[in-house]
């Protein structure tokens, strides 16, 4: 439904391969968000900030202080000035920076996609005057930036994202458990990760956030190669995290692998649905609007 609101050229601005060509993460985030927002005919999310939204006719019961006297002077009618609602949402962008996120070696990796997505979301949140924090992790929490709503804070987040290097193996479950304990005030946790860890351990960690009354949005990043194992000849595959190597003929095991991968995604989808967690599998070739829509839909539900 929302996709119908786009004009064609806007889609081009949201393609990751195009964004990858731009320099500066702040510029990239701005391009993504502006491109995304300008593509919408009408924002359904008004009332979130203190910025003016529109006028409406005064009705009995409205506060008198909200009457726009200038409009009364021009029109001799009472109109109420409506502002976009300002909230005190605390959002945590939790980005996986383990070595597995460095895949692929080409133009941009899962980590690049993740950092751009995180930057875009931070930009969007900041624009809406929400407090945004950043957590990066691999085996443990590498960096914790508490949420703030200032522009200067946004620059700190951007700088952190820009300088992020993939390293170490992943221990998502323990990291999330750790983080769930650390965040005291309820907020929105946006997890951006390839979820390469034991799936049965990840789901309880996600439930942990829910138990602490946090809202949770999970972006499960993957490259098409991971989903389809689309190599033509036998290859020697090396695990980016453990360095372990294995020789496989993808033609022989592709079908079984694809089934397993889809089954894993389906497991996450069901488990997240049961825990009231928004789960969004996201190929890194997917335009950013899909992720942003997910966020906005989730944000709307919070209101």
């Amino acid at each position: 439904m929302l996709l119908n609101c786009y004009v064609p050229h806007v889609k081009q601005l949201l393609k990751p391969e195009l964004i990858a060509r731009l320099k500066g993460i702040d510029f990239k985030a701005r391009m993504v968000v502006e491109g995304f927002l300008s593509g919408l005919h009408r924002s359904p999310y008004k009332g979130f900030s203190v910025e003016f939204a529109e006028h409406r006719q005064y009705l009995p019961g409205d506060e008198l202080k909200r009457i726009d006297w200038r409009v009364y002077g021009r029109t001799e009618r009472f109109f109420i000035r409506e502002y976009e609602e300002e909230t005190n949402l605390r959002a945590y962008l939790v980005l996986d920076s383990s070595a597995s996120m460095a895949y692929p070696d080409g133009s941009y990796s899962k980590l690049d996609y993740g950092r751009w997505l995180a930057a875009s979301l931070a930009y969007l949140l900041n624009r809406q005057k929400d407090s945004t924090g950043l957590v990066t992790f691999s085996k443990k929490i590498n960096r914790y930036i508490p949420p703030r709503a200032t522009t200067a804070h946004l620059r700190i987040i951007f700088r952190e994202l820009a300088g992020l290097k993939p390293s170490g193996d992943t221990n998502i479950s323990s990291t999330l458990h750790q983080l769930a304990e650390r965040i005291r005030r309820r907020g929105l946790v946006i997890l951006i990760s390839d979820l390469w860890d034991n799936e049965t351990a990840i789901v309880p960690a996600l439930r942990h956030f829910r138990a602490r009354k946090h809202e949770l949005l999970v972006f499960h990043l993957f490259h098409p190669d991971e989903a389809k194992l689309d190599f033509r000849n036998p290859v020697l595959l090396r695990d980016l995290e453990t360095g372990q190597e294995i020789t496989v003929d993808p033609r022989l095991i592709k079908r079984q692998y694809q089934e397993r991968f889809n089954r894993r995604c389906e497991y996450f989808r069901r488990a997240c649905a049961e825990a009231l967690v928004d789960y969004q599998p996201l190929s890194i070739t997917t335009p950013f609007d899909q992720a942003l829509f997910s966020y906005l839909e989730h944000r709307q539900r919070l209101n």
Partner: protein
């Protein structure tokens, strides 16, 4: 292992191609980073065994196919008993091409063995048992020759071939390989031995065999006697079929092992003439002795000149001949008329008392007998009759009382229809003592009463048919004995039964060309002048069958293999060792036997590979819902 086309063997290296490709793929394996092997390892472990198995299977199949195809093209064959290594050597092969080699698959094995040995020799030479005078050389020529020859006549003994091979072996130091069935008959007369180790024998004969054959046919008084012999070690039942002109008669008979059996067919020959026919035995493994051809000659009325000193002396003979005027016409002549009579007009003559002959008469008689005539002589009991030149005899024997016939030779065709008892009542009061020839009837005093001189076509009685000499003239056996004797003499002068490979010699009336019609076709033959009558010599008698020779007169004869060819009994080892030969094998596999097998195997392997690949593709294809 032996290879007939070794030039294909280098192609075996093609079998390394799949291995090279496999190793090359391994070496050129692309390294690829992957986010996590967590999921992959699970799948890979599940599929590993099958994938690995399939990889190994396909590698093996492809390698095998590429090995088997050039191996098959190189025409391999096993030769467990290949006698000597002929890689760069000369070898003399003697191939026994006698009829007995046609038993079962002996001939095919013999030819394959010969080819195998020849193929492995740099300078092979070949001697055929049937043509020992010709030495065949050159591998290609010998191979072409082997395509055309088959078991034939003229090889009833291996003696000539072995003798020549022994000579060649001693002169040039050649190893000799004899390919034969070691038939006892073919090796029985060999009295020399090869140098040690020079003669090696590929034995294709067997101790156990089954073969029965027709060994002889004779005609006696409207009865055709067929002699059969079962050479095998087990009793067999065979159907014997007589074919004569348009009539066919059959008899089924049980043949005990190694025992001669004679059966009879009744046949009426009303008209004089030539009767060609055959006797066939229901088939067994050796076909050649299952058929025997014959030609019977029923002569026209025989005019018999009866030379007697006085009319009374020959009257009993005359009366005896008059009893069968259908076949005989007696003509009484004085003995003195012998010099003026054209004897060659008569196939047989009777001289009742040759003691009165002059020396010139004996010369005429000799000439007549040498020209194809025949005679029955009744020798007088004179101490010196001048007959010494024809038949040795000793004076007059007068026994006390009389003597009687003691034994008669019933195996002789003349006496085959008589019994000894028929002659027992006969009393001989006086006789002469004969010597030489074959005794047909012997008296109680051991003197011969009737003898035969086959080389002179002569039957001799040791008495004259007079009442003072014997009472035979009054006995019932006298007339048939006389008739049989004359018919025998007339018929045996024309030989109708010859063996394959013989030079057939026939006496003909004219020097004009004759047309020879035989089983192998037609040809024209020319008679040669001879002392008495022109002779036709026919050497092309390698094919058994009935032959006709005709111009104004028709002549006929039959050609058969030697009956002994059917006796497949192998020679005893003790006899063989005296030849200096060593049996090296009975199982030389013909080359190329493995070729078909290997090519079939390659095709099967390819099919298996296609199935494996097809199965994998089928498993890969998603199911459409």
């Amino acid at each position: 292992m032996h290879f007939l086309q070794p030039q294909f063997l280098p192609l075996l290296s093609l079998g390394l191609i799949p291995l090279f490709i496999h190793l090359l793929t391994r070496l050129r394996l692309r390294r690829q980073n992957f986010p996590s092997l967590h999921l992959l390892q699970t799948v890979h472990q599940e599929r590993f065994s099958w994938v690995r198995l399939k990889e190994i299977l396909l590698l093996l199949l492809r390698t095998l196919v590429l090995l088997i195809i050039p191996l098959g093209l190189s025409r391999p064959g096993f030769e467990p008993g290949l006698p000597v290594r002929f890689g760069a050597e000369r070898v003399l092969v003697i191939l026994d091409d006698s009829y007995s080699m046609g038993y079962g698959s002996r001939w095919q094995k013999a030819v394959s063995s010969a080819r195998l040995i020849i193929q492995n020799s740099s300078q092979p030479e070949l001697l055929l048992a049937s043509r020992a005078d010709t030495l065949f050389t050159g591998r290609n020529f010998i191979n072409r020759l082997l395509d055309t020859i088959s078991p034939s006549a003229g090889a009833w003994t291996l003696f000539p071939a072995l003798l020549r091979a022994d000579s060649l072996s001693r002169q040039r130091g050649l190893p000799v390989v004899l390919i034969t069935d070691l038939q006892e008959r073919a090796l029985s007369r060999i009295d020399f031995s090869f140098p040690p180790g020079k003669l090696q024998i590929v034995n294709l004969g067997t101790q156990q065999f089954d073969n029965a054959g027709v060994t002889g046919i004779s005609f006696h008084n409207n009865r055709i006697k067929v002699e059969l012999f079962n050479y095998g070690g087990a009793p067999v039942t065979r159907t014997v079929t007589l074919k004569l002109k348009n009539s066919v008669q059959e008899q089924t008979i049980a043949l005990p092992p190694r025992t001669p059996i004679t059966i009879e067919f009744l046949m009426n020959f009303e008209k004089p003439g030539l009767y060609p026919g055959s006797v066939e035995l229901s088939a067994d493994s050796l076909l050649i002795d299952n058929v025997r051809y014959f030609v019977f000659h029923i002569p026209e009325k025989i005019t018999v000149p009866l030379f007697v000193p006085t009319d009374s002396a020959g009257k009993y003979l005359y009366w005896a001949l008059l009893t069968d005027t259908l076949h005989f016409q007696p003509l009484t002549l004085k003995t003195s008329a012998l010099s003026s009579t054209q004897l060659s007009h008569y196939p047989v003559i009777i001289i009742a008392d040759p003691g009165n002959l002059k020396p010139a008469d004996f010369d005429r008689l000799n000439f007549y007998l040498n020209s194809g005539g025949s005679a029955l002589l009744c020798v007088p009991n004179l101490p010196s009759s001048g007959l010494e030149r024809l038949i040795p005899h000793q004076g007059k024997v007068i026994s006390t009382g009389f003597v009687t016939p003691a034994e008669i030779d019933t195996t002789h065709p003349l006496l085959a229809d008589f019994r000894t008892d028929d002659f027992k009542p006969i009393r001989i009061f006086q006789h002469t003592r004969l010597a030489g020839g074959r005794t047909l009837i012997r008296l109680t005093d051991q003197s011969p009463l009737v003898i035969e001189l086959p080389e002179k076509n002569l039957l001799v009685w040791a008495f004259t048919p007079e009442p003072a000499v014997t009472d035979l003239i009054y006995k019932a056996v006298f007339v048939p004995l006389l008739h049989h004797s004359l018919k025998y003499l007339v018929l045996r002068t024309i030989r109708h039964d010859w063996f394959v490979g013989d030079t057939v010699v026939l006496s003909v009336r004219e020097l004009a060309p004759l047309r020879l019609i035989g089983p192998a076709g037609e040809k024209t033959v020319l008679p040669e002048p001879a002392l008495a009558r022109p002779l036709v010599k026919i050497t092309t008698t390698r094919v058994p069958g009935n032959y006709r020779l005709e111009n104004n007169t028709v002549y006929a004869f039959s050609v058969n293999p030697l009956p002994a060819e059917g006796d497949l009994t192998p020679i005893a080892e003790a006899q063989l060792s005296s030849l200096g030969g060593k049996i090296i094998s009975s199982d030389l596999h013909p080359a190329g036997e493995l070729t078909a097998l290997l090519l079939y195997l390659a095709a099967a392997l390819l099919a298996v590979e296609l199935v494996v690949i097809g199965l994998e593709n089928y498993r890969k294809t998603p199911v459409r819902k």
